[in-house]
């Protein structure tokens, strides 16, 4: 191998595995990603990749080499977490868990889709449910419950206001509230920048 090629490979691959993203994987105990040989078994069995541009192999490769564009791409949000890649990986990498961790890093950087942000911030934090049945708009669902002889609200957080507060308290303590507030700020800044760029 010529010296130049060797230098190139070292620079491109070896050095960059110490990127910010891969460091976060290591911090999360997910350094197994480094065992990836990019064989593509993950992509081959992926039902999402059959119909979208999402390529598991490519997302993992980008994460490994520190290509941060992977965080902004909608692709990582098209994984349905079916876990075939996790099961079939010949290097025993928990691929699906890696994608989930990658999404965590993306959210931390403020890259979250609007419907996901609304779900987390407006619905889950506020009600304790991901799909609630309380509130004026959901009367038909309470009626549906009653039509099957069930109480109009289930015995979940919906029936225990103290439990919602308890969940919110935990979410504050563990950093979810702060994360969501920061995400809102980052999203706003990015939107402002986009508007300015358009005006120019």
């Amino acid at each position: 191998m010529s010296e130049n090629v060797e230098k190139y490979l070292k620079k491109k691959v070896y050095k960059s595995t110490n990127s910010k993203i891969s460091q976060k994987f290591v911090d999360a105990g997910l350094e197994k990603l480094r065992a990836c040989i990019n064989c593509g078994t993950c992509t081959g069995g992926c039902p999402s990749g059959r119909r979208t541009a999402y390529r598991t192999r490519s997302a993992i490769r980008k994460a490994l080499t520190g290509d941060e564009s992977v965080l902004q791409d909608i692709d990582i949000w098209l994984c349905s977490t079916c876990y075939y890649c996790y099961e079939r990986c010949p290097r025993n990498i928990p691929v699906t868990d890696m994608i989930i961790k990658l999404r965590n890093i993306a959210v931390e950087e403020g890259f979250i889709l609007d419907p996901h942000f609304a779900l987390a911030n407006d619905i889950f934090y506020a009600t304790g449910h991901g799909v609630p049945a309380n509130g004026e708009n959901n009367k038909k669902w309470r009626d549906l419950r009653e039509s099957y002889g069930l109480p109009s609200l289930p015995p979940t957080v919906h029936s225990y206001p103290g439990a919602v507060k308890e969940c919110q308290e935990l979410m504050k303590e563990v950093g979810f509230r702060k994360l969501m507030d920061n995400v809102a700020k980052l999203k706003e800044e990015r939107a402002k920048k986009n508007r300015e760029n358009k005006e120019e």
Partner: protein
């Protein structure tokens, strides 16, 4: 535990079952009671939290809230029981992680202490199908079957998180071709048909449905085409989010892909305990199978009447 009951579970409802498909809740309660399994509620339980979205946003939040939910069952001293693959994924994966990582468990308990809770981890979270197949067993259940279908072709849909990740599930590592749900279905006399890519994902999970409905609907389209080609009369599943995707998503598929699919799909979607309950001779109204037509814009979106007609023709 009262004397007539052989098992006792804490029903972890989650979100989609109680708030969008309560017929599933009604059928689980009826069928478990019928099988001498006592169901108690888990007061104040929240969203599990959903693995595809909230786990993907912030893993520590996911783990702490999941531990809180499990701690509610521990307080009562019952195994958490869920009818949802998503809740199962969360409760079981969180339980598994906390069982194997002492430091993590300690850290989670430091958070829970702030709301006067503690996570012990001595009670395994179970799926409704796991309770049926592993706790009770098909030999026990078959004695409750009063009526058998003579000709009902079922396209079974397992969903993903009931079998995967297989190292954290109770099926001896089987994930490519499990048979436990088919075996339960066969007890009713129904035929579980083979169809192409039977174990494929419905498309809803992993935040996909929330992000891009059209992508989720394209998964569903592929599944529905394969089910119809194999001659399915009904779909039977064991997860309310798959159920939503196969029911409401079936309607969306009919709209989005109207030019590609030919005839619109109208395959009734039935939850496993609804099918079992019918075979046990339980009143269909106690299984959430009789829709109140005064209500509009509510589930099920694809009529289950063709299934009820089969019940009338073959069982009565």
């Amino acid at each position: 535990m009262s004397e007539e009951y052989k098992w006792k579970y804490g029903l972890f409802l989650g979100c989609v079952i109680p708030n969008r498909y309560p017929m599933i809740e009604a059928s689980i309660r009826s069928v478990f009671d019928h099988l001498n399994a006592e169901i108690v509620d888990l007061p104040g339980a929240s969203c599990c939290p959903a693995p595809g979205v909230f786990r993907a946003f912030h893993i520590p939040t996911w783990l702490v809230i999941a531990a809180r939910n499990i701690s509610i069952a521990e307080e009562i001293g019952v195994n958490p029981l869920t009818g949802c693959n998503g809740c199962y994924g969360t409760l079981r994966d969180a339980w598994f992680e906390l069982e194997h990582e002492y430091e993590l468990k300690k850290e989670v308990n430091e958070y829970l202490a702030k709301v006067n809770r503690v996570y012990k981890g001595n009670l395994e979270p179970k799926h409704v199908v796991q309770a049926l197949y592993l706790d009770m067993g098909t030999n026990y259940i078959k004695d409750f079957v009063k009526h058998k279908f003579s000709d009902l072709k079922v396209a079974v849909h397992y969903g993903c998180h009931i079998v995967k990740p297989s190292d954290k599930r109770p099926w001896n590592g089987e994930y490519e071709a499990p048979t436990f749900l088919d075996e339960i279905i066969k007890l009713t006399g129904a035929k579980s048909i083979d169809y192409k890519d039977k174990f494929m994902c419905c498309g809803a999970g992993g935040a996909v449905r929330t992000a891009v409905k059209e992508v989720a609907a394209d998964f569903t389209r592929e599944k529905l085409v394969n089910m119809r080609d194999a001659g399915a009369d009904i779909i039977v599943d064991c997860c309310p989010f798959c159920h939503l995707q196969l029911d409401l998503g079936q309607m969306e598929t009919n709209n989005i892909f109207s030019n590609e699919i030919g005839e619109p799909f109208k395959i009734p979607v039935i939850y496993i305990t609804q099918l079992l309950g019918i075979a046990f001779g339980i009143d269909p109204s106690l299984l959430g199978l009789i829709k109140n037509h005064d209500l509009s814009g509510v589930s099920p979106f694809i009529s289950v009447d063709p299934f009820l007609n089969i019940v009338k023709d073959q069982l009565i």
